[in-house]
């Protein structure tokens, strides 16, 4: 596919994403806008998690913790009348900072051990939110009776409808896609993938493994913090119930289902996990909405057997091999025999 075709496909897709919700708003399909917004939040989370699982190859089973930290930070600040932009930044900062503090000791562990630590931390965060009554109002959630999370306003526009939030989320997802794509084929991104492929060899080839892991860890939490903050303002309400272990597992599902390391893949995976309960509900009745866990379990097993690389597998980029005009071909090849 040529560059122009791909560019126009992107432009066309973007135009659709921008325009269609405007028309849907006044029809009976308006619920799709809200659904798309939720899918967008999950996409942000899945893109963040993919940096850790897909790029650097570290299994994280407690990613929702950082979504929760972002959401609660934003909610607490919003209640105290901190402007939207500022509390979003603070939420991103808090998630990232806590992630780095936890990551510093935890990243010494590898593989399953790291997965257990992240799982444990996810539970610690959820339990803290449920029990720290004076700060978080426990299981009843924020805001308390008599307090409210005011409507967000951004550059003079008050975000009041699902449509507004749809656009904010769309912009965030596009930003996240940009960051991931740029990283994927850069010095930093290559170092991350090298760590996934062989940590020891990467270290011996000069990659500062611990520093790079921390960078990926921190950045993934920044994505989660952003998603959490938007969620808190949009819902106007946060409880610990939204951030369970199962949600973290669903995110891992999204990444694995879509294709680890593949940006389009994890977007697709996130879409699947958001749409599945809706489709199940309308196809089989509302009591089957929770059958998604069954469905995901089954699909993961089937994927592991028949398509371990995911729905939309990641591919390494093909690079230009012919030397540029100005480049001189090497004078002597080190191997002359054998390959003629």
């Amino acid at each position: 596919m040529s560059k122009t075709v791909r560019r126009s496909a992107w432009a066309g897709g973007l135009a659709l994403l921008l325009a269609v919700p405007c028309f849907l708003q006044s029809t009976s399909f308006a619920f799709l806008i809200r659904l798309a917004g939720i899918a967008g939040l999950y996409m942000l989370l899945a893109l963040g998690l993919n940096l850790v699982i897909g790029f650097v190859g570290l299994l994280d089973l407690g990613f929702m913790a950082f979504y929760a930290i972002g959401a609660y930070t934003a909610a607490l600040l919003a209640i105290h009348k901190v402007p939207f932009a500022l509390s979003v930044l603070a939420a991103i900062g808090a998630s990232t900072l806590i992630r780095l503090i936890v990551g510093f000791p935890a990243l010494r562990l590898r593989g399953d051990y790291l997965a257990i630590v992240t799982l444990g931390f996810g539970e610690v965060v959820r339990l803290t939110l449920s029990n720290w009554d004076s700060l978080t109002n426990g299981p009843k959630g924020l805001p308390r009776v008599g307090e409210t999370i005011p409507s967000a306003s951004l550059m003079g526009i008050t975000l009041s409808s699902n449509l507004h939030y749809y656009y904010v989320i769309l912009a965030s997802v596009l930003g996240a896609i940009w960051v991931c794509t740029r990283l994927n084929h850069s010095r930093v991104g290559r170092a991350w993938v090298a760590i996934r492929e062989d940590e020891v060899a990467a270290e011996l080839m000069g990659v500062e493994v611990t520093k790079q892991k921390m960078l990926a860890f921190g950045l993934s939490a920044a994505f989660a913090g952003l998603a959490g903050a938007i969620f808190a303002y949009w819902e106007g309400f946060v409880t610990p119930e939204s951030f369970t272990f199962w949600e973290s597992v669903l995110l891992v599902c999204a990444v694995v289902l879509g294709g680890m390391g593949s940006i389009l893949g994890v977007l697709l995976g996130a879409l699947c996990i958001v749409l599945a309960p809706e489709v199940l509900r309308s196809a089989l009745g509302s009591s089957f909405a929770n059958a998604r866990y069954l469905l995901f379990g089954l699909s993961l097993i089937l994927m592991a057997i028949y398509r371990p690389q995911g729905l939309w597998p990641s591919r390494r980029r093909t690079l230009e091999l012919r030397p540029a005009e100005a480049e001189e071909p090497p004078q002597d090849t080190l191997f002359d025999a054998g390959r003629k």
């Binding site: 991104g189 170092a191 020891v200 054998g338």
Partner: protein, 255 residues
């Protein structure tokens, strides 16, 4: 003064001395062979020199600087690169990318220049690709540059590992049995490659089992047995050394 100097280096694993007060020095521009029976501690010495293991005793000096407490990536950026006995490429990355990764510590683009696509980032990315192409061309793999490393034939994987190590611009290259599993023609090729790398002014420490390679290529040979150095001399002398013959063949009393 020596280029790389290991002074009385010891490494103990569970009460067994894998390295027992080993002294080793490499002169600039030299090809030093390292031989010894299986389990003599050759690869352990490589792992100590590259920072993967910390020595229990002793010092390692590289260009006059203590390196035995540095992290492996710091040692790599000082200019010591290596290959592995059992090939350790990045299997799901292309041959080009494998080489490009090793440019990491010779380049600087961090997170922010990357996402804002600064001019400096683009320039550096071009440089990385250019030097990767050159190195692949040098080992004769340029036409396979976009193949995943895991899909390359065995001999090409060995060459790619050397190209990757050379991308670090090392002053000292450690090769761990580069001819393992190669046929005579391929080893011949490889010997020529090692010779050419040395002509470029890179010092080489070479673990090798094929005596033909060692005798033809190395300026000097060190012999390890049970973690201790039992000989260190010119190849022809080492060949005649009774201690070396005993280590390899057993003593005549048992024969």
């Amino acid at each position: 003064m020596s280029f790389l100097e290991a002074l009385s280096v010891s490494k103990v694993f569970g009460g067994i001395a894998a390295l027992d007060h080993v002294d080793l020095s490499i002169q600039e521009g030299e090809i030093l062979g390292l031989i010894g029976p299986n389990g003599a501690g050759k690869t352990t010495l490589f792992n100590v020199l590259t920072g993967l293991y910390k020595p229990d005793k002793g010092e390692i000096l590289f260009c006059g600087e203590r390196i035995d407490s540095l992290a492996p990536h710091e040692i790599a950026s000082l200019g010591i690169a290596r290959t592995f006995q059992n090939i350790r490429l990045f299997p799901n990355m292309t041959a080009m990318e494998n080489v490009m990764v090793a440019r990491h510590c010779r380049t600087r683009s961090e997170f922010l220049p990357t996402i804002f696509v600064t001019a400096a980032f683009l320039r550096e990315e071009q440089e990385i690709q250019k030097s990767a192409r050159e190195l692949l061309a040098r080992v004769g793999l340029l036409d396979r540059g976009n193949a995943l490393a895991k899909n390359l034939p065995y001999g090409d994987q060995r060459k790619l590992e050397i190209a990757r190590a050379m991308a670090l611009e090392p002053k000292l290259l450690l090769l761990d049995e580069p001819t393992a599993g190669m046929n005579a023609a391929e080893s011949e090729d490889l010997m020529r490659l090692v010779g050419k790398i040395q002509e470029r002014g890179v010092s080489i420490l070479l673990i090798e089992h094929q005596m033909r390679v060692v005798m033809n290529l190395c300026h000097r040979v060190a012999v390890l047995d049970y973690g201790a150095k039992i000989a260190d001399a010119a190849p022809a002398e080492v060949q005649k050394n009774p201690a070396v013959i005993e280590a390899y063949l057993g003593s005549s009393a048992h024969a």
